[in-house]
């Protein structure tokens, strides 16, 4: 039962959305322009098919040949093994990069001196081409997990750092004044104002870092790893197994989709729960 407002105001002046059911729920979940999205995918497949028909099959594999190669990777179990390796590296690196970027972002958000101190480091990290960092990683850590994780961490951290800082800059100063009036402790400022206030920006930073991270992890695996999706892609290229090459390309797209749906979206939902309940 909805509570009623006392003192002559009989009903609640806001109406909350009622949970949809069945088909209505599915329809509500479907984004607008879904048909256009599907048409776009169809157009992409059509273009791919036309390209495959007009070129040699060693250069562009057809969608059907790619599907067959993908099927073989699935039934052989190779897809799951290589994907698990890449996902493990990516998640470790994103957590490391996220923690470093977030931690330093919070420090710099509170201290102008810290922000000025970190600015040159951030600039160098964001300006250095990823391929250079990858080569430094290979030089320092050799082939394997460490150099892959190193590259993605170094690329992800400044992105999360910058977004965390943007969160601090956009914080509602009126809430901070309110906290000062009511004598909030430092801990309360942190947990009741700052962290929830910058949550949206941190998640945006993590999402951007994940997008860049997927590309970086695959590049690092191509350059210097003995396993993983990137390594398998490189091997397929070396042996000119073009359908398999295209299949691994599809897997890399699948990886990003899984990361978005399985990790980033639930995280966003958990952090921004108050916003969903408010709308």
């Amino acid at each position: 039962m909805q509570p009623t407002l006392e003192r002559n105001i009989p009903t609640l002046p806001v109406t909350l959305p009622r949970p949809a059911a069945g088909l209505k729920k599915i329809a509500a979940a479907c984004p607008a322009y879904l048909g256009w999205h599907l048409a776009g995918i169809g157009l992409l497949l059509l273009g791919w098919q036309l390209l495959a028909m007009t070129t040699h099959n060693a250069i562009v594999a057809s969608p059907a040949a790619t599907g067959e190669a993908l099927y073989q990777l699935i039934i052989s179990g190779q897809l799951v093994v290589e994907m698990a390796i890449t996902v493990k590296r990516l998640l470790i690196a994103l957590m490391l990069g996220g923690a470093v970027g977030f931690g330093l972002g919070v420090l710099a958000g509170f201290s102008r001196a810290c922000r000025a101190l970190l600015e040159p480091v951030r600039w160098v990290m964001m300006t250095l081409p990823a391929i250079f960092i990858a080569i430094f990683g290979l030089l320092w850590f050799g082939v394997g997990d460490t150099q892959v994780i190193f590259l993605v961490t170094v690329i992800a951290a400044p992105v999360v750092y910058l977004n965390t800082l943007a969160g601090f800059d956009s914080l509602d100063q009126q809430l901070i004044e309110m906290g000062r009036v009511y004598r909030f402790s430092r801990w309360q400022f942190l947990t009741d104002i700052y962290l929830p206030g910058i949550g949206f920006n941190v998640i945006t930073g993590l999402t951007l870092a994940a997008g860049i991270g997927v590309r970086a992890v695959l590049m690092a695996e191509v350059l210097g790893a003995a396993d993983g999706i990137g390594h398998s892609f490189n091997r397929a290229w070396t042996f000119l197994k073009t359908p398999e090459l295209f299949a691994w390309m599809l897997v890399s797209l699948l990886l990003m989709a899984l990361l978005e749906l399985g990790f980033l979206k639930p995280l966003r939902r958990a952090v921004m729960r108050w916003q969903q309940q408010s709308t």
């Binding site: 407002l5 002046p13 309110m178 000062r180 104002i193 206030g197 309940q277």
Partner: protein, 207 residues
């Protein structure tokens, strides 16, 4: 007690408060009226310690001060009860007690049953009720009100003024109430100070 002695404040060289002296006795209810730009809000912000004066001294003998702003200034990510409870915790209450007291204060401002509602689910008047509950929950000895109901329609404003009068009557709080509308101060101010431009005061009129 609030004591201001020849206080001046300017923004970018533009004087807002100019050598203002004022004493508010404990338990006194003072209404500050004046046109926009007279320095009413600046005066409250000075008393609350949110800004510092350029010259003069301010003495505020208070262990707990509450401030009801023009906007409710609620934490959008916390429920109505949590918004009240967070101020209580800042003033020493433990988590469980603060939550119980918050529910009780929400009931006193007519928001029983709305504890778990987020600010965006509440109307402007209801949000300001939560702000009132927060202000009184910490049991302040000084209460500053800065045109708290100026954004509300007349019906809501009258309701909230009635609640405010009732809450003030049940405490011995020192009140400074800033408004454009002198009628709002009926029953809320024992002394009305008409603040002129640049924060200057004529000799105070007794009501």
């Amino acid at each position: 007690m609030i004591q201001l002695n020849r206080v001046s404040k300017s923004y970018n060289g533009l004087p807002v408060i100019n050598r203002l002296s004022l004493t508010v006795e404990p338990g006194e209810m003072v209404g500050l009226v004046g046109p926009s730009g007279a320095g009413k809000t600046t005066l409250l912000r000075l008393i609350a310690g949110l800004i510092q004066p350029d010259a003069g001294t301010i003495r505020v003998a208070s262990s707990r001060l509450s401030y009801v702003f023009q906007e409710a200034r609620l934490l959008p990510w916390r429920s109505a009860a949590a918004n009240v409870a967070v101020a209580l915790r800042a003033n020493g209450a433990d988590r469980q007690t603060s939550h119980m007291l918050a529910q009780d204060w929400l009931r006193q401002v007519g928001l029983a049953g709305f504890d778990h509602y987020y600010p965006a689910q509440l109307s402007g008047g209801m949000q300001q009720r939560v702000a009132l509950a927060r202000a009184f929950a910490v049991q302040p000895d000084i209460l500053l009100l800065d045109e708290p109901f100026s954004h509300l329609d007349d019906g809501n404003k009258q309701e909230l003024l009635a609640i405010l009068r009732q809450l003030i009557e049940s405490t011995n709080v020192t009140v400074m109430y800033v408004t454009h509308t002198i009628a709002e101060l009926d029953g809320l101010a024992s002394r009305i100070l008409p603040l002129k431009s640049c924060g200057t005061l004529p000799p105070p009129a007794r009501r």
